[in-house]
Amino acid sequence: MTETLPTAPPTRPRAERHAPERRETGSGNKLVGRSVPRTEDLALLTGTARFIDDIRLPGMLYAKILRSTTAHARLNGVDLSKALQQPGVRGAICGQDLLGKVKPWGDMMQDLLVGDHFPFATDKILYEGQEIAAVVADSKYAALDALEVIEVDYDELPVLVDPEGALDPESPLIQEGINYEFGEGNIFDRYRVRVGDAAAAAADADVVVRQRFVSNRQAGAALDPHGCVASYDSFTGVLTIYSSTQSIFMVRDVLADTLQIPRNRVRVVIPEVGAGFGSKAQMFAHEVIASVLSMQLGRPVHLVLGRGEIFRAGTARTGQVRYAEMYLKRDGEITGYRDYIVHDCGAQSLWGNQVVHIGTNVGMLPYPIPNIHIDADVVHTNTAPAGPLRGFGIPETIWAKEQLVDMAAERLGMDPLDLRARNVVQPESFPYRTPMGQVIDSTSIDRCLQTCAEAIGWREKKARPEPNEGVGLAVSMKYTSCRHPSLDTDLSAVRVRLETDGTVTIFSSDVSHGQGHATFLAQIVSDVLGVGFEKVALAPPDSATAPFGLGTYASRAAAVLGTACRQAAERLREKVVAIAAHVLEANPEDLDTGNDRVHVRGLPDTGLYLENLAGYAAYRTHQLPPGFEPTLEAVATYDTPTEREAPDGSGNFSVTYSGAAHAAHVRVDPDTGRITVIDYAMAHDTGTVINPLIVEGQHQGGFLMGIGMALGEDYVYDDQGRLLNASFKDYQAPYATELPELTKMFEIPAPSVNIPGGQKGAGESGTGPVPAAIGNAVYDATGVRFTALPITPDRMLLALREKERRGLDSFRYPDDMPDFTSPRTPDEWPTPTGSDEGDLLL
């Protein structure tokens, strides 16, 4: 279909209606809303912060892991005898040593009967970098020496790298002996959405756009390596593990279950964590290995991974191939979306199948598309384990969907800005439930869209294009918190204690790995309790003392943890006010808090200091009201009012949704193919911003990961499944010098109604739209539509040359390249392997 349709009529004018009335966020002297400098930064900037590799315990030994150098093999045997004779070696173990002694894990997240993860390969090697054996020695050098003399006997098997190859029933079987929901095979899960009637929408559509899209594997690339120190106390039977992780209770519960010891005998303590981005949101084999070695020897065991190990065996972004279509009416209304996704989770994956569920569901936003039909085959390949990574599948969805929007705009003869404005969710009233099931409690996405377009100079640049330059837009809405289909919970908890000198300690199990918990939680406590900001401290995450919470991922800290913190602080406030009312013989309603004291409303210089009130509760309990339980602790757990996924794929997984609208201005060098992002504008709705400084930092960091995904980062494998760029030297993560100045950042708050403070998640908004915005800008600049990521200079130049050779105005890379072997046109597209026939849930 090549007809050009007349320009759509202008969209009907809409009243300004973004959200209910903005709620009161506090008086002028409140800290929430202010750019309080981060409490964390002094230690980080002066190099005194202590990370996992800095931990030294008395008698500590060092462990190192031998990893497979082949991607797929039958493992016949591992001979540790020579390693055990090496000087300084204290122990060595391999998979056979642990069979029947530790329990496999991964069952809960994946809904399997038996877990598919084990500390070492036992009879099969599934990917390059998989754990084969470990040595523990007096020094890491002695351990490395010993690894070199371990003999591994294996027979190579055919290797599967291409995720679409996994659809072939004849492809080499990777996970053997696991009975998945759909039987044994490389397709280990399926996913689908059936909302409305997509077939009818297709039949009624004036325009249908279809394209195959591929998205890349991206590393977490946290500078602080994965690692742990395990220390088993053989007298008490308590295993203490210090770990660089995003979730202490996920580590504790899964580790205790794997080791089959009581959960109150595992203590997880977290030092400073130099970021995770989703790549540390699970328990890893090295945590089990260090624990087992420590339990065997009764000594602390240090096990920190090297960068090559992290690339190969940490988790990377899931890869996707999408066969996506969008249906539109002549006036630009998006009426339907259909997709078939081949979702690559690598050789094993705890979270990978969840990524396609949530990333696709939430990825439909910000358009309330009425008819959606999606299938996914979730597959294993002999590549690095996949998992969550900043955006949790949303950047992958947006990459496809937001390019389809531009393709549709071209066909309709509409400005892509107007087409988006026509479709972004702008309900008559809030809360509004989209056909996909998301409940939008507030949003300013339409204003975000217009703001970023204006900031980039959209209209002028479209009217007067410069050669080799282009502009592109993309919009998304990111979940804030998430009820995962496999994990029916979305809670965080905080305990606060008023100490006997009037200071406050916050206990939380949600690890701060860049989110500034010590700062923003203290801002909340300070405001609620009237205590000085500098008097509030956050205790290090420790499963022995912190209340149970899920951890820090899914952009949930500000909204979920922040709400728990607010509620705990309010409960503590009620207690101190009750004591003060008793002592002052006043009505509690007449009292207020502020200036480190409880005072009579309107008289902030009167009243009783928190220090005195705490003293009564601790040391002068006869001062307390009759029957008052003498404690100055309060705990609150907040579980979001979210829904489980329905059988048709719909549901409201997130407590609220953050808006992001991005506009990119790029220049392409026609001689070298170099793509330069010369300007970039971002407008976000993060609700009520607790700390603008932290939120801006999150957006900048999110953009950084987005531009890396767009322009450079990928796991490059050879056909034998060997990762060719497993170092920061070769892996094309962007340097600061490659980034544009991010001077056009806008925050347009539509405060959340569901969250008492009005805040929304910030951590992942900055990532989602970036690849699509840049992809659309590249097309605008060159006429080359990239359908695969990343958009690298070499691909760009070869595409430009081929386009020129064929004399085409528009060109798809790689679909229109001579050596492209995958389906070029929709009539060649594959069909999902699953079928709805006889499905009782539909």
């Binding site: 050098y141 490395l144 020496d145 090559g308 001689d671 070298t672 193919g673 170099r674 450079g712 030297k729 094309q732 962007p734 340097y735 010098t737 490659e738 690298t792 200079p793 070499d794 691909r795 130049l797 070869l798 040359r801």
Partner: protein, 298 residues
């Protein structure tokens, strides 16, 4: 990393003795920006390291009586990059050497890394490797058997590595006097600013009295295990005055010469082939412009 002994001689003779005494396991360290990374990954396992950092004779540069530029092999990139601030500023086209030294890798590497270290590491993606061949530099070495002088094009083995013998130390890199060339331009493409080159290209021209090109060297690096002289392309320049059209065409000649289409079978190779054309063209244009500026100004 594996255990090793570390030696820091004050003089060249001592360094040569140490290398001889410690035998085949001994290795020279001159900055260590390649070697240390390899040692960290256990890819290099020297039993002894002989550092050139304290050998004063090997640092800095000077102009000889004949006007040649001699640079000590243990001179750091950072020192050379800031040559104009020193007592011995570089002249004319020699400043391109400082410009190249100041625009490679990152600041820590430039601070520690040395010219000789890069040449002996002989990674074809390193800019200095391409540059010394392009500018027909001479390399002086010393060893237990005495010293020798090797032309840069012969220093690098076409299959990779150098022709240095065990225990031999590179001491000096000697560039032609000013009249050796009229204009020099180095061009490269790297993905990220701190990456090594994917392709580098140098054009060095000498103009005759009539203003036409009397002599030309076109060199392409990072494509093969050692830099390659594109002699057909260079010959096309001689006797004429390159126009914008010529530079593009000669760039394509160089691409055909260095990486013919039938050898460019992978996408990376095809891209390198495209870049050779572009970068050689740019280098010719820029060197010619400089040659004219220099000639007009002298």
């Amino acid at each position: 990393m594996k255990p090793f002994s570390f030696h820091s001689p004050r003089g060249l003779g001592e360094a040569v003795d140490l290398l001889e005494r410690h035998g085949p396991g001994a290795q020279v360290i001159a900055g260590g920006q390649t070697l240390l990374l390899a040692m960290k990954e256990r890819l290099a396992r020297p039993s002894a390291l002989v550092s050139l950092a304290e050998v004063a004779d090997l640092r800095g540069w000077r102009y000889t009586d004949s006007g040649a530029l001699e640079i000590g092999a243990a001179t750091t990139y950072a020192a050379l990059a800031e040559a104009e601030l020193t007592g011995v500023p570089l002249r004319g086209w020699h400043t391109e050497i400082a410009a190249v030294a100041g625009d490679l890798a990152d600041r820590p590497v430039r601070t520690m890394g040395t010219i000789g270290g890069a040449l002996c590491a002989a990674d074809p993606r390193f800019d200095m490797v391409t540059l010394v061949v392009a500018l027909d530099a001479e390399l002086d070495t010393v060893g237990a058997g005495g010293g020798r002088t090797i032309r840069a094009a012969e220093f690098f083995d076409p299959v990779g590595g150098t022709v240095l013998r065990p225990g031999e130390i590179l001491t000096t890199v000697r560039f032609r006097p000013q009249d050796g060339f009229s204009g020099v331009a180095f061009e490269k493409f790297r993905y990220r600013v701190f990456d090594a080159a994917l392709v580098s290209a140098v054009c060095a021209l000498r103009l005759g009295a009539d203003g036409a090109v009397a002599d030309a060297r076109v060199t392409v690096g990072a494509v093969h295990p050692a830099p390659v002289l594109a002699t057909t392309a260079a010959d096309r320049l001689v006797g004429g005055t390159p126009t914008a059209v010529d530079t593009v065409e000669i760039g394509l000649v160089a691409a055909d010469e260095v990486l013919p289409a039938e050898q460019a079978t992978t996408s990376v190779r095809r891209y390198q082939r495209e870049l050779i054309g572009v970068l050689v063209g740019r280098a010719i244009a820029r060197s010619h412009e400089r040659a004219h500026t220099t000639t007009a100004g002298s």
